[in-house]
C-alpha cells in the first residue's frame, strides 16, 4: 500500500529472517527458544520422570497393605522417646511434607533443614549428605536420632509387634521369635542401650533388625505415593514442545525471562535439571556455614556413614541382589569435591518451602539468588561456582542483575504444583 507499510513489513520480514537464520525454530510461538533450549525444557517436564522404577532393596514397596501400615507408622507419635514425635511432626501432610523451620524440631533440635518427602523416591541417595541409599533405610535414621524421635529399635519393635501385630504379619509374614527383650536397646543409643544390645543373642539382634527394617519398608511404601503434581511451568513446557502458542500463556513474560535466566545467565540448569529439577548429585556451592569454626563437611561424612550402614543396599536386610546395587558398588569415595558438598534439592514447589539450604541459611528465594550472584568462597572445600575474581578457562561467573533476580524468583514461583498424596 503506502511506502511506510511496505518498509515496516520489509523490516519485520528481514528481522525475522535474521533471527531465523541464527536460531532453529519449530513454530511461531510468543516466546522463541533455540532447538537446544527446547530440548532442555522438554527434559524438565514432570511427566518425563515417569513411574519411579521399583526400589529393588524393598520387596514390599508396591504392596498396598505395606503402604497402609506405613502410613499408620508415619503418623504414630508413640514411635518416639517422649510419645510426642512422629514422622509427620516434621514431614507434615498439610503442607510440603516439611516443617517450614530452619532446623528440625523433634525431641530436641536438629542440625539441618527438614527435606520434603515428594520426589525422594527418585533419588539414589537420601538426606542432605546422602548417608542413606533407599527410602526405607532413610526412615530408620530419624527414629533413632536423639534430636528427632530419640527412640531405639528394641522399643520400637516391641511396640509394633504388640500394637500392629496382625497388620505387620499380613505384610511381612510371621514375626521372628525374639525371646525376652529389654525395654530399650540399640547399637546407636545411650551407653546403657548399647550395653543391653550387645548382651542380646545374635539371633535376637538379627530378628529385631529384621522387624525394624520392615518398619522402614512399610513407611517407604507409603511415601512412594507422595509426589509432586504438575505446575504452570509444565503446561508451558508442553506447549513449547508442541508448538502450541496459546499454551505458552501459562507463564507470564516475567516468568519466561526468569526461565531464560535459569537456562543461561544463572546457570541454574547445571544442577537443577531433569523433571524434578535436580541432578540428584552433590555439589559445593559455597553456602555459608552456621558455625564458621566447625563447618558442615556434608557428603564426605555422609559417604562414610553410607558405607557402614547395615541397612544399605548390600546389607543383610536388603532385598536386592549384589549386582543390583550399582550405586553402592561404584560409589565415588575419592572425590575431594565432595567436601562441603550437599545434595541438590528438587526445585519443585520451592517457593512454598522457605527457608533454604541444608541448615536453612536463607530465609527467602531472593537471598538464595543473591548467594549465587555473589558466588562466595566456600567455608570448607571448594565451591563449584566460578568466583568473580578468578579467571577460568572453562567456567564462567554467574552474572545476575537485580532485575534478573526478580525474574528468576518469579519463574521459581511458577514451578509450584499440588502435592499428590493418598486421601
Amino acid at each position: 500500500m503506502n511506502k511506510r507499510v511496505i518498509w515496516t513489513f520489509a523490516a519485520a520480514a528481514a528481522f525475522t529472517a535474521s533471527v531465523f537464520a541464527a536460531q532453529e525454530l519449530s513454530a511461531p510461538l510468543r516466546d522463541k527458544w533455540t532447538a537446544q533450549e527446547v530440548a532442555i525444557i522438554a527434559s524438565m517436564r514432570l511427566k518425563v520422570a515417569g513411574e519411579r522404577p521399583a526400589e529393588l532393596s524393598n520387596a514390599y514397596e508396591l504392596k498396598t497393605e505395606a503402604a497402609t501400615l506405613g502410613r499408620a507408622l508415619f503418623n504414630d507419635t508413640r514411635l518416639s522417646k517422649n510419645g510426642q514425635v512422629s514422622c509427620a511432626s516434621c514431614h507434615s501432610a498439610t503442607g510440603q511434607f516439611e516443617d517450614g523451620r530452619q532446623f528440625g524440631q523433634g525431641v530436641g533440635t536438629g542440625k539441618r533443614r527438614t527435606m520434603p518427602v515428594m520426589g525422594a523416591a527418585h533419588s539414589p541417595f537420601l538426606f542432605w549428605d546422602g548417608r542413606k541409599d533407599s527410602a526405607w533405610s532413610q526412615a530408620l535414621g530419624p527414629l533413632e536420632d536423639p534430636a528427632e524421635h530419640g527412640g531405639n529399635r528394641v522399643a520400637f519393635v516391641q511396640l509394633v509387634l504388640s500394637q500392629y501385630k496382625a497388620r505387620y504379619q499380613a505384610v511381612f509374614g510371621p514375626a521372628p521369635a525374639l525371646g525376652k527383650l529389654p525395654e530399650n536397646a540399640s547399637p546407636n543409643g545411650t551407653d546403657a542401650e548399647r550395653t543391653a544390645w550387645a548382651a542380646l543373642p545374635e539371633i535376637a539382634r538379627d530378628g529385631v533388625n529384621r522387624v525394624f527394617a520392615n518398619m522402614g519398608k512399610a513407611i517407604a511404601a507409603y511415601e512412594r505415593n507422595i509426589a509432586y503434581g504438575e505446575s504452570r511451568f509444565d503446561q508451558y513446557a508442553e506447549a513449547t514442545v508442541r508448538g502450541d502458542a496459546r499454551g505458552q500463556e501459562s507463564l507470564t513474560p516475567q516468568e519466561v525471562r526468569g526461565l531464560r535466566a535459569f537456562l543461561n545467565k544463572g546457570q541454574c540448569v547445571t544442577c537443577h535439571n531433569g523433571p524434578l529439577l535436580t541432578d540428584h548429585g552433590f555439589h559445593n556451592t559455597g553456602v555459608p556455614s552456621i558455625d564458621p569454626k566447625n563447618p558442615d563437611r556434608g557428603r564426605i561424612e555422609g559417604l562414610k556413614k553410607l558405607l557402614k550402614d547395615e541397612f544399605n543396599c548390600l546389607g543383610p536386610y536388603s532385598d536386592a541382589k549384589l549386582e543390583q546395587c550399582g550405586e553402592l558398588q561404584f560409589l565415588n569415595t575419592n572425590d575431594t569435591g565432595q567436601l562441603g558438598a550437599f545434595r541438590t534439592p528438587s526445585l519443585r514447589n520451592v517457593a512454598a518451602r522457605a527457608p533454604y539450604m541444608h541448615a536453612g541459611q536463607f530465609a527467602s528465594l531472593d537471598q538464595v539468588l543473591q548467594h549465587y550472584a555473589t558466588s562466595p568462597k566456600a567455608a570448607i572445600g571448594h565451591s563449584e561456582l566460578a568466583r568473580p575474581d578468578e579467571k577460568h578457562a572453562e567456567r564462567q561467573t554467574i552474572r545476575l542483575s537485580a532485575a534478573d533476580i526478580q525474574d528468576l524468583a518469579a519463574f521459581l514461583g511458577a514451578v509450584t504444583g499440588p502435592v499428590v498424596q493418598p486421601k
Binding site: 520489509a10 523490516a11 528481514a14 528481522f15 535474521s18 533471527v19 541464527a22 536460531q23 533455540t34 537446544q36 533450549e37 530440548a39 532442555i40 522438554a42 527434559s43 517436564r45 518425563v48 539414589p124 514442545v241 537456562l263 543461561n264 545467565k265 544463572g266 546457570q267 540448569v269 547445571t270 544442577c271 535439571n273 531433569g274 541432578d279 540428584h280 548429585g281 555439589h283 550399582g326 550405586e327 558398588q329 561404584f330 560409589l331 565415588n332 569415595t333 575419592n334 572425590d335 569435591g337 571448594h382 563449584e384 561456582l385 566460578a386 572453562e394 567456567r395 564462567q396
Partner: protein, 145 residues
C-alpha cells in the same frame, strides 16, 4: 532501524550461545579412538548401544592395543573425569571390572548426571608400560518427546 534490529538479534544470539554451559569449546575432539598421551597404546572407547538416560548407570567398553594395533591383555585401568565447565568430577567411580576378550575390557559404573561436555580419563598400566588418555563426549538427552 533495520540494521539496529539485526545487530541486536545477533548479539542476543551470541549471548545465548556463550552463556552458562550451553556451548562447549570450539574444535572439541570427540574422537573415541586415539593414541594414548605418550603414544604407547591405541585406545578406543565403545559407548553402550542404547544411549542411557541421564542418571542411569551404564557400561562402556575399552579396546586396548599396542601402537601397532595388537590387542593388549591383562592391563589395569584407573578411571577419572568430569565436567570441566562446571568444576565437578564424575558422580560415580567407574572401573574396569573384567577383560571380556583379548584387549576388550568392560568399563562399568558409568553415569552422567546431566547433559553437556564430559571428559573421560583413563590411566593405563599394561605390559608396554604406563600411559594415559583423555576422551571427550557430549552427553545429550535421548529424545524426550
Amino acid at each position: 532501524m533495520l540494521k539496529r534490529m539485526t545487530i541486536s538479534a545477533a548479539l542476543v544470539t551470541a549471548a545465548l550461545m556463550t552463556a552458562g554451559c550451553m556451548a562447549p569449546p570450539k574444535n572439541l575432539d570427540l574422537s573415541l579412538a586415539k593414541k594414548s598421551a605418550s603414544g604407547v597404546y591405541q585406545v578406543e572407547l565403545l559407548p553402550p548401544a542404547q544411549a542411557p538416560a541421564i542418571n542411569q548407570m551404564h557400561s562402556w567398553k575399552v579396546k586396548l592395543a599396542t601402537a601397532e594395533g595388537v590387542p593388549v591383555r591383562g592391563a589395569k585401568f584407573l578411571v577419572d573425569g568430569g565436567m570441566p565447565q562446571h568444576g565437578h568430577g564424575l558422580p560415580t567411580q567407574p572401573r574396569v571390572t573384567r577383560e571380556m576378550e583379548a584387549g576388550t575390557y568392560a568399563l562399568d559404573g558409568m553415569k552422567f548426571s546431566m547433559t553437556g561436555w564430559w571428559e573421560m580419563k583413563l590411566a593405563i598400566d599394561g605390559p608396554q608400560g604406563a600411559d594415559k588418555v583423555t576422551f571427550n563426549t557430549m552427553v545429550t538427552n535421548p529424545s524426550a518427546r
